[in-house]
Amino acid sequence: MPQQVTRLLIVFAVFIGMFLVAAAFLKPASFGEYGHYRGNAIKEIAAKEIKFVDRKSCANCHNDNSDALAGAEHALINCQTCHGPGYKHNQWFEQNKSRFMRQDPASGIWTVDTILVRAAKDIPEEYKLLKPNERDACLKCHAINAARREKVVRQIDVTDHYDVKKKCVECHPPHAPNS
């Protein structure tokens, strides 16, 4: 074999060898576990924290509102649709939970005193939920719109409905609007 060819082959072999070594070191460990991707990525994505909490957890304390909601027109709507995500609100509760525990004298079981929780006034601003009561909040769903089906949602043409300066919630309590 001519000298220049051998020399070139050596150079190329070194280059390819270096590449293969680098590739072996750089390739993530879980790559190819399920397919051509990092298997751990699935677990990382699944581990992300949630912000909209389980809807059941609202009723643990705010049973008065959930009772009002049950059976009313808005019964199927998640609390957080109007009040915003509950994760921070829940965090505050978990941090201050001990304050609201009460022991049942008969059975000795500790439970959360929901009335005590709702009476708490010291919840910091950032942990508070939204309490939208302006007209626009209602009109996002209830403004008349040709694209909305009347059988799905009741609609109102606000320009000629009662006093435009009044808030909707003053006449229609949001948790049980038809009461």
């Binding site: 399920y34 990525a41 994505i45 909209f52 389980d54 199927l76 649709t81 769903c141």
Partner: protein, 275 residues
């Protein structure tokens, strides 16, 4: 076409599971071991009142679960265009608030009497959608929420040069943001405009079907936030489940079927005008 397409899809997926099963048996044992450890840990840490619910969730969370094919359906008859889904999605998934980045958004279609069409989606519909066409000029109008179609033959997964976008064994198209190089090729390949380059991570981003919530036994944020139950998420392999039942019982279609991307997002009452 819709129901036959759906059953064909289910058959195809069934076949895939059989293949997957032998391959991932070992992973399955590994996962079960993890779950078991998790349960043991939970039992120690958990406070008595919450334990039952948490255990229920931990059992649901097999990550990934090859026996499941997640799918999605939207009942357009029920959509009222309030935009709560898009709003909740941005919060749940830390999507930038600027009106250029959406994992889901709501479009308002107006077919006018003169047969022209107007589509609007200001700020993705987050602030609610209003009619800009006068009542007299409207022939018909409807809302269409859009999101990632989690295509079974996803063009984005096909073109990703490094394997940062992939279809999980449970049928969700996901993005590995630690591995994405941010080339934007997948953004170009998505016919539905569902992807964007995040200005925060400089990697691509899109709907994950709230995979992190599914694995905690919860519904996606958009489904939770929808006031009318127009959005449904479920398991396409669960023949008796609500999702498959809904798809079977309604005239469901997918978006841009001619592109053969095999979406797993099914729409009821989808007008042929929708693009």
């Amino acid at each position: 076409m819709p129901s036959s397409a759906c059953s064909k899809f289910l058959i195809q997926n069934k076949m895939e599971t059989e293949k997957d099963k032998s391959k991932t048996r070992r992973d399955f044992f590994k996962a079960s071991a993890l779950v078991a450890t998790g349960l043991a840990l939970n039992a120690v840490v958990m406070k008595p009142g919450r334990a039952a619910a948490e255990i229920e969730r931990a059992t649901a969370a097999k990550i990934p679960d090859p026996d499941v094919q997640y799918g999605f359906a939207i009942d357009l008859d029920k959509c009222i265009g309030c935009g709560n889904c898009a709003k909740a999605c941005k919060i749940e998934n830390d999507v930038p608030q600027e009106p250029f980045y959406f994992r889901t958004w709501v479009e308002q279609y107006v077919v006018k009497c003169d047969e022209t069409m107007k589509i609007e989606s200001p700020n993705g519909g987050i602030d609610g959608l209003k009619q800009s066409v006068s009542k007299e000029g409207i022939e018909k109008s409807f809302f269409v929420p859009k999101m990632c179609n989690h295509c079974a033959k996803s063009p984005c997964e096909q073109v990703c040069p490094v394997g940062a976008t992939f279809r999980s064994p449970d049928g969700v198209v996901l993005i590995d943001k630690e591995y994405c190089i941010g080339c934007g090729y997948c953004v170009q390949s998505c016919p539905y405009g569902c992807r964007y380059i995040s200005p925060i991570t400089h990697t691509v981003d899109k709907c994950t079907m709230c995979y992190h919530r599914l694995k905690k036994g919860l519904q996606p944020a958009c489904v939770e936030a929808c006031p009318t139950g127009a959005r449904m998420q479920g398991n396409l392999r669960d023949k008796d489940g609500p999702l498959v039942k809904f798809i079977k019982e309604h005239n469901c279609r997918v978006l841009k079927p001619h592109l053969n991307t095999a979406p797993k997002l099914f729409y009821n009452s989808l007008s042929e005008k929708v693009i």
